[in-house]
């Protein structure tokens, strides 16, 4: 792939999705484009770009995006965002609930996959609210029932826990052979259940959340569906509630209804 080809593709993807690939990612993008070219049987970039650009179903663009945004999930992923959640967002939410005793927080990990994000949030909540008059619960949902079974088991390999600080590893995990099992205290704080983010009736029941984490999930939806899901999220949040997207995602490109909040550690959308 030449640099010109890369830029042409990069600019198109950016315009359509807001996902931006730096020139340093040329090799990364090239390998994935080559794999997609093999999959559909074309042998030139020119032919591939035309195929993708005019594919009315949008499927090829989606396939390429899937390949480019492989969702490797692990504990404490996108650390700066989590730091923002822990050190800036949680205190702000708790301040806003000064009239409540105990203060109640509801968090939703939407598209939770095998549970790493939900457990990470549980660790953060335990650490940040220890000794405070605060109760909290985490709802973790996914469309895929297989990943939910794994999430409920709470058993992870070395790769998944690579970024867990030693002190938390000792505090919240039990070693089981080659694996690490999350402790029961974490598991009982999380409600895992199946939910299709486009199921209007069930999405309507999701309400009163202070924070929603939906990172690297909306990129798999088409434009119309993404808009609809963003609306459901908006209605599921309390006034002033926050929504965390993946670092390459932009809510402003989906809908103008959320406010952009600039924190020290990250930029987050707020109702």
């Amino acid at each position: 792939m030449t640099i010109e080809e890369f830029i042409k593709l990069r600019d198109y993807i950016y315009r359509k999705t807001g996902i931006y690939f730096d020139k340093k990612k040329l090799y990364y993008v090239e390998k994935r484009v080559e794999a997609r070219m093999r999959a559909i049987g074309v042998d030139s970039f020119r032919a591939y770009f035309a195929w993708m650009r005019f594919d009315t179903s949008g499927r090829e663009l989606q396939e390429l995006l899937n390949a480019l945004t492989v969702n490797e999930t692990y504990f404490f992923r996108e650390y700066q965002q989590l730091r923002c959640f822990a050190e800036e967002v949680i205190p702000e939410i708790l301040r806003s609930k000064n009239g409540q005793n105990p203060k109640k927080m509801r968090i939703w990990s939407a598209g939770c996959s095998t549970g790493e994000e939900a457990y990470t949030l549980a660790i953060i909540m335990l650490e940040m609210t220890r000794g405070l008059p605060v109760t909290w619960e985490i709802h973790a949902t996914d469309l895929n029932t297989d990943v939910l079974v794994q999430a409920k088991k709470g058993l992870y390999g070395k790769r998944a826990i690579k970024d867990v600080p030693e002190v938390y590893l000792a505090r919240y995990f039990n070693r089981v052979g080659e694996h690490f099992e999350v402790c029961s205290e974490l598991r009982r704080r999380i409600f895992f259940y199946q939910l299709n983010l486009l199921d209007r009736e069930n999405m309507r029941k999701m309400a009163d959340f202070d924070v929603i984490f939906c990172r690297n999930v909306l990129i798999y939806f088409d434009d119309a569906s993404r808009r609809e899901v963003a609306l459901y999220f908006y209605e599921a949040l309390r006034k002033g509630g926050f929504i965390f997207l993946g670092h390459s995602e932009s809510m402003s490109r989906i809908t103008p209804i959320f406010r952009l909040r600039k924190f020290k550690n990250a930029i987050i959308y707020q109702k």
Partner: protein, 183 residues
């Protein structure tokens, strides 16, 4: 429909709008567009736009074309978004818009065409580059052709655009487009 018009809770109005996407009749479309214009809550307006996209009929396209003439930038942008997402359904109406005496309307039409995935859009953009008298409309069409154009005819059309107007901005747009079309 009553809920969308009168319910005091924003959430109820949002869901009422989304529910109406199950009713693709023309009178429902007209009602939704009327509510879109009159509604004061942005989330409810966004729900109405989502419902219009989901309905996606010829009537939606016609009404959205009317919204392009609105003074309200939000309504204009929403109309463009709907037209872009409705792809083939929009094509006929957008074609008509290219003849509009107002260059802003023609620019909207070019922006819609440039996001379509239909090959007919390329032919229409080529025509814009060949005949439109407004430099901004032509430059925007040139930019899109740079991305979408594939054949010699497209390249030739873009090249000739620089001859029709003597303007550094357009010359630059032509240069960039030609470079992209070589790839």
């Amino acid at each position: 429909m009553d809920i969308l018009s009168t319910h005091p809770e924003e959430k109820e109005r949002c869901y009422a709008a989304l529910e109406l996407s199950n009713f693709p009749q023309d009178d429902v479309v007209e009602y939704l567009v009327t509510r879109l214009v009159e509604e004061e809550s942005r989330p409810v307006q966004e729900a109405i736009v989502s419902a219009l996209i989901a309905i996606g009929t010829e009537a939606v396209v016609r009404w959205c074309t009317e919204l392009l003439r609105s003074e309200d930038a939000y309504l204009r942008n929403s109309a463009i978004e709907v037209l872009q997402l409705l792809q083939h359904t929009s094509l006929g109406v957008v074609k008509e818009l290219l003849q509009d005496p107002d260059p802003d309307m023609r620019l909207f039409a070019v922006n819609v065409l440039g996001e379509l995935k239909a090959r007919e859009a390329v032919e229409l953009l080529r025509r814009v580059v060949e005949v439109d008298e407004n430099i901004n409309v032509v430059a925007t069409a040139v930019e899109y052709l740079g991305e979408m154009g594939l054949c010699d005819e497209d390249r030739e059309t873009v090249r000739k655009a620089a001859e029709r107007f003597s303007d550094p901005f357009l010359e630059y747009a032509v240069e960039v487009a030609l470079k992209k079309m070589e790839i």
